[in-house]
């Protein structure tokens, strides 16, 4: 479905969104992703370095102590030392090198010869030792009574390629323990050392030292399992859950010893900085978005406001409020547009004034022509009747007729003057019961001569009477006359004008129908307005006054017309119930 965007503000917002917000969001997403990945890689690398360094230091520590014992064995062998001297050397060694708890020299039969111990030697020659440095083997690690990881180094002594006993040293990896204790990553990141058999032999977490005391096997630890599955020497890294805590761990091997050094840190701490940065980045992006929206909104408003102002002004002008002007001071094309609009509005006002002036002129001409038209006929009749009346050869009957004509036309003039006055100051209606057929008959008689003069047949059809309404006989006479006169004038010679009465329910209808030219539909609705006329002459007051009179008598007047076929006006009044005919005072 095609999206229709009807408002420029919406379009503008979408434009800002597409042009600025979307790239910003994309930038934010890429930044967050990079931050997370970069942090993870950085922490893994850092922790791997720690583990690798620790592994190397532990290896050196063990190997150097093995080398120490090897050097001691060289001192004891083939140097011609007495037992007492050997004993002294061993005892001094013990004090000098604290890692060695006991060093004992055994003969070929495995019996102790000299020992660093004052009492009976406790050390035994280990059976399951494995090489750690050339000539020195090391037993599996165990944890001694002081909770220190301990192993036994043993060196096979030879003389002339013959076995000459063993030198065994109980080696306490106290320094390794301390080394592991010193490794602290953040607040809760610790190192641990796992023996080849999976036994935990050192843990930097004080609360995990119990696991060392318990000789806890770590083979099930995810990190230990991960490093064991690796076939190369590279460190293994893993995120895993241990003790209900999510950790990031790195492990590396000490190949010479078969030990594993692992470093683990809670992810909550490892990623704390990144999380904070991420939060700050999110806030910054949101703030930027907000600023962008606000700036976009303000800028958009400044951009759209002139358009909206022009829109409002245009609507005002369209509604006829031509005094509306715009005040756009953006200094850009909108200012030019605003000035153009104002110029256009000024011009429209000027044009309207011109039109009004022209209309006033036309109206004046039309009114003048109407007055002339409406007055000329009565005046002419009066003049003719007066002239005929002044002749001596006119009989009395004719004189009476001329006199009545003069009186009638004077009445017409008077009524015309009343019409004009009525336009300026409407005259109150005086209601009386009147019989419609009778009033229509009077007007038909009055208008028939005019019809005859114009070659128009004036007919009347009366419904069975009496048809009584509440009306003003004089006012309704003016209405009939207006309608009849207009109909005669609109009807070409040979045509007809019919006035008919009818009773329709509780109403009485009077219709005036002609076979004239008809009124165009576009003008039909305005024919009852003041000074609107379809005729070439006349004030255009007749129908307006007629409508006002009808409505004052609680009646209605409707018109139906078809160009070329004629027009029909229908008056409709409430019928009076008692049907009593009272003739209004004439």
């Amino acid at each position: 479905m095609k999206l229709r965007i009807r408002h420029i503000a919406t379009r503008f917002a979408l434009l800002v969104g597409v042009a600025a917000v979307v790239p910003l969001l994309a930038y934010g997403a890429v930044s967050l992703l990079s931050l997370q990945r970069g942090t993870h890689d950085s922490i893994v690398t850092g922790n791997a370095n720690v583990a690798t360094r620790a592994a190397e230091e532990i290896r050196r520590y063990v190997v150097s102590n093995a080398a120490l014992l090897k050097a001691l064995s060289a001192d004891l062998q083939n140097t011609g030392l007495e037992r007492r001297q050997q004993d002294q050397i061993l005892k001094n060694y013990i004090l000098e090198f604290r890692e060695f708890r006991e060093i004992t020299l055994f003969d070929e039969a495995g019996a102790p010869v000299v020992s660093s111990r004052a009492g009976k030697p406790r050390i035994v020659i280990p059976k399951n030792a494995s090489p750690v440095v050339e000539g020195v083997e090391m037993s599996p690690i165990r944890v001694d009574e002081d909770l220190l990881p301990t192993a036994t180094f043993v060196i096979r002594l030879t003389r002339l390629n013959q076995g000459a006993g063993w030198l065994a040293g109980e080696f306490s990896l106290e320094e390794m323990w301390r080394m592991v204790d010193r490794i602290r990553i953040g607040e809760h990141g610790y190192a641990m050392v796992i023996a080849p058999g999976g036994e935990l032999i050192a843990h930097g977490d004080p609360d995990k030292k119990a696991l060392v005391a318990q000789a806890r096997t770590m083979t099930a630890h995810p990190l230990v399992a991960a490093i064991r599955e690796k076939h190369d020497e590279a460190p293994a890294s893993l995120e895993y859950t241990d003790d209900g805590r999510r950790n990031l761990g790195v492990a590396t091997r000490i190949p010479a010893l078969g030990w594993t050094v692992a470093v683990e840190q809670p992810t909550s701490e490892a990623y704390a900085n990144a999380t904070q940065l991420e939060r700050q980045l999110r806030i910054a992006i949101l703030a930027a978005l907000l600023v962008m929206v606000v700036v976009g909104y303000l800028f958009g408003r400044s951009f759209i406001n002139p358009i909206l102002e022009l829109k409002r002004a245009t609507r005002d002008v369209a509604a006829g409020r031509l005094s509306t002007r715009v005040d756009i001071t953006t200094g850009d094309e909108f200012t030019d547009l605003g000035e153009s609009f104002n110029t256009m509005a000024d011009r429209l006002v000027q044009l309207q004034e011109d039109v009004k002036r022209q209309e006033r002129h036309a109206m004046f001409g039309r009114v003048a022509a109407g007055i002339v038209h409406d007055l000329s006929h009565p005046i002419q009749n009066i003049g003719n009747s007066t002239r005929l009346l002044l002749r001596d050869d006119v009989d009395q009957e004719s004189r009476d007729m001329f006199r009545r004509t003069i009186e009638r036309e004077l009445t017409t003039l008077k009524r015309f003057m009343d019409d004009l006055r009525n336009v300026v100051k409407p005259k109150p209606i005086e209601r009386f019961a009147m019989e419609v057929n009778q009033s229509v008959t009077e007007i038909v008689e009055a208008m028939r001569p005019e019809g005859d003069r114009n070659g128009v047949l004036v007919e009347a059809r009366y419904a069975p009477g009496p048809l009584v309404i509440e009306g003003d006989r004089f006012a309704l006479g003016r209405v009939y006359r207006n309608l009849m006169s207009n109909a005669i004038q609109a009807t070409a010679p040979g045509g007809s004008v019919t006035i008919a009465t009818a009773r329709v329910g509780d109403h009485v209808e009077i219709s005036v129908t002609d076979t004239g030219s008809g009124i165009p539909a576009d003008r039909l609705s305005a024919i009852f307005d003041d000074f609107v006329t379809t005729k070439r002459r006349g004030l255009g007051l007749g129908l307006a006054i007629s409508k006002r009179i009808v409505e004052q008598l609680d009646g209605t007047i409707v018109v139906e017309s078809e160009v070329g076929r004629g027009t029909a006006f229908t008056l409709r009044f409430p019928a009076r119930v008692d049907r009593t005919v009272q003739v209004a005072a004439s």
Binding site: K91, R117, G119, E145, R178, D207, A210, A213
Partner: protein, 422 residues
């Protein structure tokens, strides 16, 4: 000294007696009342067995009121006053005491809080004692929260345990010190020059560092380092290589003779390490010290027979001078090896009979001088140890003092509802 069962004491004008006022309503574990009459009856027997010759300084102990006891001396006797720190126990099997805990019925390893304890019933209701084959095993149990208190942790293990967040370590200096005690009748060390030379040859600070892992205090003699009489009266450290060389040279028959002697030790790794460090330092001074490890019984037997040159033993030496008196004075109850000699007896008796603080200080200075001039032993170091207690307990402590003294005030920490039960 602080009063315990006593509220206080008042020296009498005659200068030879003191009236001790007892706390009111003190009871033994069996509920019987401890009053002045009971004290007057029990205390002489208790002192007689524990203070040896000093007991002869006591003339009588008699009740002077329901809660007051008058103790009369034959002569001024600071040691007898110091001996009054001894516990009051009514004879029996087992003896009946007055302390905050009482042995649980039918058990030799369990104790119940003494609800009638005169300072208030302890917060911990019940204590059970369990033994383990090794410190490691006990430590593991402590970390597993199956036990709450590890009695004592040696200097080698302290460092590896102090960082635990679930266990609090309380270090304190034991009132015992390592001393290389000489047999005054042994030919190898009979010479005063030999003993003085050996005394001056040992660098105690180095010994503390190497043998005790730094967890100890170098000794300056027989007297507890915090003893009041040592204030402004502390002797110089004995370590003086030049004086050692001179003294030992004087002792040698020929200039290049090596002085040799044998040192007996008990089968203890720490004692052995101290012995080896002493041996090494003496080697540097041209002295060969052989180390012979014996069982405790063998050691006591050899000491009793004076069949030894020297013995490296951890002697009780504080906090009062009565303690070393009981070890180093001839005829004292703990002088198993006939240590010391007439000059030491004289110096200790000067202490024993000093009639004032000034005399006491002078006597302490005299003792220190004797120890420097004609040492009966090489006083080496006071060992620092630690007690490990689960942090589920709130333990009042003062730096350097043994928390055992505050056991009755221990209580479960605020957030701990129940301590572990073994």
């Amino acid at each position: 000294m602080q009063p315990s069962l006593a509220e206080g004491w008042t020296p009498q004008p005659d200068g030879r007696s003191v009236v001790v006022k007892l706390r009111p309503r003190i009871t033994f574990h069996d509920g019987s009342l401890l009053d002045s009459g009971v004290v007057a009856k029990i205390l002489p027997d208790s002192l007689k067995g524990s203070i040896g010759p000093v007991f002869t300084d006591l003339e009588r102990i008699r009740p002077t009121g329901e809660d007051t006891v008058e103790i009369t001396f034959r002569r001024p006797s600071p040691f007898l006053l110091e001996a009054l720190e001894s516990p009051i126990q009514r004879p029996g099997t087992p003896p009946v005491g007055t302390g905050p805990y009482v042995g649980a019925r039918g058990s030799m390893t369990a104790f119940d809080a003494n609800s009638g304890y005169y300072l208030g019933k302890p917060a911990i209701e019940h204590i059970e004692v369990t033994t383990y084959p090794s410190v490691r095993a006990a430590w593991a149990e402590l970390l597993r929260e199956r036990i709450d208190w590890l009695w004592e942790v040696g200097p080698d293990a302290v460092d590896s345990m102090t960082s635990s967040s679930s266990v609090a370590m309380f270090t304190y200096t034991r009132r015992y010190q390592f001393a290389l005690a000489f047999n005054p009748s042994a030919r190898a060390v009979r010479s005063r020059d030999v003993r003085s030379g050996l005394n001056a040859a040992i660098d105690r600070d180095r010994l503390v560092k190497n043998a005790l892992n730094g967890h100890g205090t170098a000794s300056v003699g027989m007297v507890w380092p915090q003893h009041w009489a040592l204030q402004n009266n502390r002797p110089k450290p004995a370590f003086n290589p030049k004086a050692a060389t001179e003294a030992l040279n004087r002792a040698r028959a020929k200039p290049n003779d090596r002085i040799q002697f044998t040192c007996l030790i008990s089968p203890d790794a720490l004692t052995e390490r101290v012995a080896l460090e002493v041996k090494r330092q003496l080697e540097g001074a041209g002295v060969d010290m052989s180390v012979e490890e014996l069982t405790q019984e063998q050691l006591l037997e050899r000491l009793g027979k004076q069949d030894y040159d020297a013995a490296l033993i951890e002697f009780i030496s504080g906090p009062t001078l009565l303690r070393p008196y009981q070890v180093w004075h001839s005829g004292a109850p703990f002088n198993w090896g006939h240590f010391g000699g007439p000059h030491i007896d004289k110096a200790l008796d000067a202490l024993r009979f000093s009639g004032s603080d000034a005399e006491y200080r002078t006597a302490v200075a005299g003792l220190n001088q004797i120890l420097a001039d004609d040492p009966p032993a090489v006083f080496l170091a006071w060992q620092e140890r630690a007690r490990a207690v689960s942090r589920r307990f709130s333990v009042p402590s003062e730096p350097g003092r043994d928390i055992l003294g505050t056991l009755r005030l221990w209580k479960p920490a605020a957030d701990t509802r129940q301590a572990s039960r073994n």
